[in-house]
């Protein structure tokens, strides 16, 4: 069965673009609108791709709570080193600045979940 990947972003546009990219790469996608929903839908997922700025629960807090369960790559417009360090300390496995290049995203996902 195809590996399942959780995509957490408050932008439907980004979720759609990421889902298209991952589905073309043979993965199954589960979407969540924020960190709270992300935690609810995490079960059965091999990894999560997560935005930073979101309502209710942002990506850093999500990483703090979920990084013990699955590898997480942050996908965000934010690029500052101190924020990247925070995500890393929270247990995130990677960081990508939007707009993403589909081939870069897929290769990062393949490296992490195979």
């Amino acid at each position: 069965m195809n590996k399942r990947i959780l995509v957490v972003d408050d932008s439907p546009s980004v979720r759609q673009q990421v889902a298209m990219c991952l589905e073309q790469g043979g993965y199954q996608v589960v979407e969540a609108n924020d960190g709270v929903e992300g935690l609810e839908r995490l079960g059965g997922c091999a990894m999560a791709i997560c935005d930073v700025n979101m309502p209710r629960m942002g990506g850093i807090e999500f990483a703090e709570k979920a990084a013990g369960a699955v590898p997480i790559v942050m996908l965000t417009t934010e690029g500052r080193a101190e924020l990247i360090a925070k995500a890393r300390a929270a247990g995130a496995k990677g960081w990508m600045v939007k707009p993403f290049k589909p081939e870069q995203l897929l290769s990062a996902v393949k490296k992490i979940v195979g």
Binding site: R80, K93, V97, F100, K101, S107, A108
Partner: protein, 168 residues
């Protein structure tokens, strides 16, 4: 350059680079002499605050610009303009980091209407990017602390490269 001139230059540069990243080339941003001809039908606005400044950025588009930049057909115009604005402000924020200015940004708010055009102090004309047949409009409304001087210091704050995956 005054802070406002610097902001306008950064916005122009950020917009051009953003549209290019989505495969749409845009001509040099310019300001229209009159605002009557503006035809933005959908726009999104994001607020930001920092120690020395606060303001908002509104990005509007006519339907042609929206269509030219949209990445998937399933994407709703209001979702796409919200995300484009988010990425435009994100870029602006990352560029400001080189001036040692940090801002916190809000989530986008979408406005739909006819000939959208906010009223602003001073120069009310937006920056205009031409995307093929389409037009995108950027309004930047910033209040700065008196005496603020913006000096670019490359490397002041390290910013990750766009699009590349950084794996820890």
């Amino acid at each position: 350059m005054t802070p406002h001139e610097t902001f306008a230059a950064l916005l122009s540069e950020c917009g051009r680079a953003l549209f290019e990243a989505y495969g749409v080339s845009s001509t040099e941003a310019s300001r229209p002499a009159r605002v009557e001809g503006l035809d933005a039908r959908v726009a999104a606005i994001i607020g930001f605050t920092g120690d020395s400044l606060r303001g908002s950025l509104m990005l509007g588009m006519n339907p042609e610009a929206l269509e030219a930049s949209r990445q998937t057909e399933r994407d709703r115009p209001q979702d796409w303009i919200a995300e484009l604005t988010n990425q435009l402000v994100g870029r602006f924020k990352n560029r400001l980091a080189a001036y040692d200015v940090d801002i916190v940004i809000t989530t986008p708010l979408v406005i739909r209407g006819e000939r959208l055009s906010p009223v602003m102090d001073g120069d009310a004309a937006p920056l205009v990017w031409t995307l093929g047949e389409g037009r995108a409009y950027g309004w930047l409304d910033v209040e700065v602390q008196p005496g603020l001087e913006l000096v670019e210091r490359p490397g002041a704050a390290a910013v990750a490269a766009e699009g590349e995956a950084l794996l820890f």
